[in-house]
Symmetry: C2
Subunit: 211 residues, 2 copies
């Protein structure tokens, strides 16, 4: 069912070779979907933007829905990877959460890319295709669980008081992160997002206050 994509250049395929770079097309589609949204972006816009014709696109990706989902996963593997790309697990959970949020603040307001988070920007409205909506929600929750882990770890290591409601605190940080994406879509600057992060982190005091 899934297309077998051979990355090994030595294994040449028969037939006429593809004239466009698949990854490059994926990157371009990611940006387009990110900025315009799934429903709003038409295949005509997409093909003219990519400089290729519909049959080539369909041969390479299958359908608009499959193309979007692959672009979404391309985002998760590249620009959206900062969530899991923690520098080192040696650092304290708080420092890791701080870095996660600060990286988000930078990424969301990076002028080189559409504003905010691609996954979060894709949520808002329900879609004609329930399949897409499910895929977005699932990937969103999977990513956010990283914050759950960090807060739980903070309680475990004693960095946060044992009486902390870890689920609630984690959900608070998730809420802030998601709000930051919306703020970025509305034009918030890196500095403004960083100020939000600094404020939010006050709920996880640097010096743990044990009762």
């Amino acid at each position: 069912m899934a297309e077998q994509e051979l990355s090994n250049p030595s294994t040449q395929r028969r037939g006429r070779p593809r004239e466009f770079d698949r990854t490059n097309a994926l990157e371009c589609a990611m940006r387009q979907f990110w900025q315009h949204g799934y429903e709003t972006l038409s295949m005509a816009d997409l093909t003219s933007c990519l400089g290729i014709n519909p049959p080539s696109l369909y041969a390479a990706f299958g359908s608009k829905q499959a193309f979007f989902l692959e672009a979404l996963d391309h985002y998760l593997a590249t620009r959206g990877a900062y969530v899991y790309a923690m520098p080192s697990d040696q650092r304290s959970p708080r420092a890791m959460l701080a870095q996660l949020l600060q990286r988000a603040a930078e990424a969301f307001s990076d002028a080189a890319y559409p504003a905010g988070c691609f996954v979060l920007a894709s949520i808002s409205a329900t879609y004609d295709s329930y399949e897409i909506e499910q895929a977005i929600v699932q990937r969103c929750q999977q990513r956010m669980s990283k914050i759950d882990e960090l807060v739980a770890l903070g309680v475990q290591t004693g960095e946060l008081p044992a009486t902390t409601n870890a689920e609630e605190l984690a959900q608070f940080f998730v809420c802030v992160l998601q709000g930051m994406s919306l703020q970025a879509r509305l034009g918030a600057s890196t500095n403004q997002l960083q100020a939000i992060v600094a404020n939010a982190l006050q709920l996880w005091p640097q010096a743990a206050r044990l009762r």
Copy 2:
């Protein structure tokens, strides 16, 4: 340019009377746009949902865009009015902000309506019509300025320390509110949203700590 809508029932208009209730149609359209989004919701869906035919709809509202904008303003005047409907200006700024956020927590998770905030849910993706996007952003910022006022008032009354960066703190609360809308779209319960509010409000301590 704007349609003259006479609310006075004594001033009868000539011609065949409208067979559907205009406000009722607006309420129904609001829910539909709220749930499905502007682009996704087709006029065919809308007319069949309202039980009226396209010409009646166009005669009453003009166009899809005008219909959406009127539905948006209907939301602001009804369900979305909680932002400005503060109980009394006698209360402290903090209490007013708390009430604003708590009302949002209830409204966003009210099963009787689509989840989250209609205005915020309408942002995410850019639209074919720049006019609509501008209208949404403008109404959004106008509403959020209420939070700016409350925080500034808190500093003014001494409830918050004079060293407080009012703009940053206000933007933090706006961010939380917007994140709450997204959380609600993802299925967060009233209790969960209230817990987020409680956490956020810790940045505005009940007993003002003056340095």
